[in-house]
């Protein structure tokens, strides 16, 4: 089994799918000649040529719309957004066009398109370029949303996304592009809508998606030192949400910490917390804890930048509250 970076796993997925299906095309800013702003598309121009790997102008609304139209008439475009911050310019094409195509045409049309790029804070990028915008997409019926945290899922979910008959938004993470992990050599698909239990435990359920999943694993290790067995769930897909896996876990542990690097209000994490609170009300022994970023624009100062985001310490503290392991209560 090969050790691949998250970046190379995404590259492999696109490479295989482009080889498999000539309708698959890649378009975006600097995806071709420059091999991608984050080198995710490295080598694809050389292999598949300028008709299938297209550099676009810096016009997110324009090239996203071009992709949606191409999808409606038979291609399977992959639109790379340099980051999801820039995708806000293209949101109309995703929300009002791609997401509505199947519904408003009574099933006569579809938009099999993938929108992908890094989401969430990296480092030193300040307020406009550090946003975690998962809920912008997860809010919308008519699209699927996935957020791989590991190279194998990046590979398997992107392949599923490319083959999906409907629009799929892929939330990548800049800080994970260099993360190495095992990816099986043989081809496989990771199903959309299926969460992964990364670590089994009986005492508390930790839930997140994307980059913070790695914090969950570290927090679980910390909690184990306190004798707490934490179950760690990587949602992988935000829409559709695998509620079955979450609820089965909370039924076992009776308590949960939901982590989301977005802001707290109207976020994916707050929705998951609400679903647990509702579905598992009678089994909860503590309020569902929710760790999000602070409700402020991202500070540029690095200490503050780190302080406003979820951290292993914050997750452990939340777990201890839910487990009533705090020394004293206010």
């Amino acid at each position: 089994m090969a050790q691949l970076t998250y970046r190379d796993a995404l590259n492999r997925a696109m490479d295989e799918e482009m080889a498999r299906d000539p309708k698959v095309v890649l378009m975006g800013e600097e995806v071709a000649e420059y091999d991608g702003a984050y080198k995710v598309s490295r080598g694809l121009l050389a292999k598949y040529g300028p008709e299938r790997v297209l550099d676009t102008p810096i016009t997110e609304l324009g090239f996203t719309g071009l992709g949606v139209g191409a999808a409606m008439v038979g291609l399977r475009p992959i639109v790379e957004w340099m980051t999801h911050n820039f995708a806000l310019l293209a949101i109309d094409q995703v929300v009002n066009e791609a997401a509505k195509t199947r519904h408003m045409s009574g099933g006569q049309l579809s938009a099999p398109i993938v929108f992908r790029g890094p989401n969430g804070p990296a480092e030193y990028l300040s307020s406009q370029h550090s946003q975690a915008l998962a809920s912008y997409w997860a809010h919308i019926p008519g699209i699927r949303v996935v957020a791989p945290a590991f190279p194998a899922d990046a590979y398997g979910l992107l392949k599923s996304a490319i083959r999906d008959p409907d629009p799929v938004v892929v939330l990548e993470a800049e800080m994970l592009y260099g993360f190495k992990g095992e990816v099986p050599d043989e081809e496989f698909l990771t199903p959309i809508g299926k969460a992964a239990v990364l670590r089994e435990g009986s005492d508390i359920t930790l839930v997140s998606f994307g980059k913070p999943v790695h914090m969950l694993l570290l927090a679980a290790t910390e909690l184990e030192k306190l004798g707490v067995q934490a179950e760690v769930i990587d949602l992988r897909s935000l829409r559709p949400l695998d509620e079955g896996t979450i609820m089965a876990s909370v039924a076992k542990t009776k308590r949960a910490v939901v982590v989301d690097e977005s802001w707290p209000a109207a976020s994916m994490g707050s929705y998951v917390a609400q679903r647990i609170s509702f579905e598992r009300f009678d089994l909860l022994d503590a309020p569902v804890e929710f760790v999000s970023s602070e409700d402020v624009p991202m500070p540029y100062n690095h200490a503050l930048e780190l302080a406003v985001q979820p951290s292993v310490e914050k997750i452990v503290a939340a777990a201890k509250r839910a487990l009533y392991l705090e020394e004293s209560h206010g």
Binding site: K254, F281, D282, L283, L284, D285, A286, Y324, H329, G330
Partner: protein, 475 residues
């Protein structure tokens, strides 16, 4: 089965409508979308179009009547089909979705004439048109809510105001704790919550269920073990019955009745419900008596108890008011030959009243000696029946607990019991001055079958006089 036709909300704010006119007649065959009737809503008169195709079998709400949204107004179906079963099954049932438009005014109108909704499982034929619309519950599906309408504003207020307020009497508790408590038959109110702000959580229920003496007992035992010196700081001496009772830990435990408990329960219930109690109170200036007792005790190895003085003076008062020293015998009142005075003594799990006989004939020293012996035997559980039975009058003194005053239940066969509170300094008027005096409040419970109010009052006046000038007892 025939189709029930319910009043529907023809405007978003409509709660009820007046059927202005039936456009269709009974027996008429309609297509879906044909006008059934004209309905005056809160906004306009509108046509109610038939939701189904079929024959209008029965009109249940005639023109001019008011029907709440969700109320059955007609039955449709195949020509000749039985409409009565459908009417019976749906009378009083809200139409699907109707509940969503329930407004406070609707709940209030439903409350005016509550009526148990006929259920599908117990259909009863509904006489056509015999039920005025106003007597039908508009939203029987919301029955309990509607019936509890006065509570709704309180809920709304609590949401606006103290959103964290919980219903009185219920401790904050996690849903899991509530579920476990229900499963294990644990009363949440008896469990001490260890979560934030006293929240009862799962481990509290488990600990409670696991500890034989209850969680509180386990906790206090643990605390006592952790802090050996803590009992010394306790306001109640460790040896007192009260501290022993509280240390036992009785939270949420079902304790089968002891013999003593069941005798207490039976005798005192009978006494309290069977004899008409009334209460006469006096405040007694204790200065003279306490000075006397101090003088007598000065130089004695063992101080004479205040209770011995009290018993002597009560006996003297009873000598002067023999009507108080009596027993009800159903067809007669027996006036007892001697002042056989019982003194209530608290024990673990109950109380007992050792009796000092013929106190009117005995000196204080003698009384105190016998009282000491009997109380010691009582606490050891060694009293013989002749030592605690047949008090002609009983004294209950809770002064050592600091209670100001209280009332006691008569201890048969006596007809009165004297309840004594604590002696404490109070501001009293003496002449034209306000002075601090040691005062004790005394309350006499009397059986009115035996003792009338004036007699009880005269006895209490005598008792007050004797306490305030003990030398009078010598007379």
């Amino acid at each position: 089965m025939a189709e029930p036709i319910f009043m529907i909300a023809l405007s978003p704010t409509m709660n009820e409508g007046v059927i202005a006119e039936w456009v269709a007649k009974e027996g008429q065959v309609l297509k879906s979308g044909d006008a059934l009737c004209e309905v005056e809503t809160d906004k306009a008169t509108m046509a109610y179009e038939s939701p189904v195709s079929g024959s209008l079998l029965k009109i249940l709400q005639p023109a001019g009547s008011t029907a709440a949204v969700g109320q059955l107004i007609a039955v449709m179906g195949k020509a000749g089909e039985d409409w009565q079963a459908t009417a019976a099954a749906h009378t009083g049932q809200a139409a699907p979705g109707a509940a969503a438009s329930a407004a406070p005014s609707q709940a209030a109108s439903a409350q005016v004439a509550p009526q148990a909704p006929a259920t599908a499982s117990t259909p009863s034929p509904v006489p056509s048109g015999s039920q005025p619309p106003s007597t039908q519950p508009a939203f029987p599906a919301l029955g309990p809510v509607a019936m509890g309408a006065p509570e709704a504003p309180a809920y709304a207020e609590s949401r606006i105001g103290g959103g964290n307020a919980l219903p009185a009497g219920l401790p904050p508790s996690s849903p899991l704790a509530r579920k476990l408590a229900k499963e294990k038959g644990v009363d949440l109110r008896s469990v001490r919550g260890s979560g934030p702000r006293g929240r009862v959580i799962a481990r509290d229920i488990e600990a409670h269920a696991a500890a034989p003496g209850g969680y509180a007992g386990a906790l206090s035992a643990a605390q006592a073990a952790a802090k050996p010196g803590s009992q010394a700081a306790s306001p109640v001496p460790a040896s007192s019955p009260a501290s022993r009772l509280s240390a036992k830990g009785l939270r949420s435990e079902r304790v089968p009745l002891s013999k003593m408990r069941s005798i207490i329960a039976s005798r005192l219930s009978q006494s309290y419900s069977g004899s008409p109690h009334y209460f006469v109170r006096v405040a007694i200036d204790m200065e003279r008596l306490l000075e006397l007792r101090a003088a007598i005790n000065a130089g004695r190895d063992k101080a004479l108890s205040l209770n011995a003085f009290v018993m002597k003076l009560v006996a003297a008062a009873l000598e002067r008011h023999p009507v108080i020293n009596a027993s009800w015998e159903g067809d007669a009142i027996r006036y007892l030959p001697s002042a056989d005075l019982g003194l209530a003594v608290a024990l673990e799990g109950g109380l007992i009243t050792p009796v000092v006989r013929s106190c009117e004939l005995r000196g204080i020293e003698d009384i105190d000696g016998e009282l000491g012996t009997l109380v010691a035997k009582a606490r050891a559980g060694a009293l013989k029946p002749e030592e605690y039975g047949g008090a002609s009058f009983t004294i209950s003194n809770l002064g050592s607990f600091g209670v100001e005053e209280f009332t006691a239940i008569i201890n048969p066969p006596g007809s009165a019991i004297l309840a004594l509170g604590a002696v404490s300094k109070e501001a009293v008027v003496v002449g034209d001055d306000i002075v601090a005096r040691r005062i004790m409040h005394a309350t006499l419970s009397s059986d009115h079958r035996v003792i009338d109010g004036a007699q009880a009052a005269a006895f209490m006046a005598e008792l007050k006089a004797l306490f305030e000038e003990p030398a009078r007892a010598l007379m």
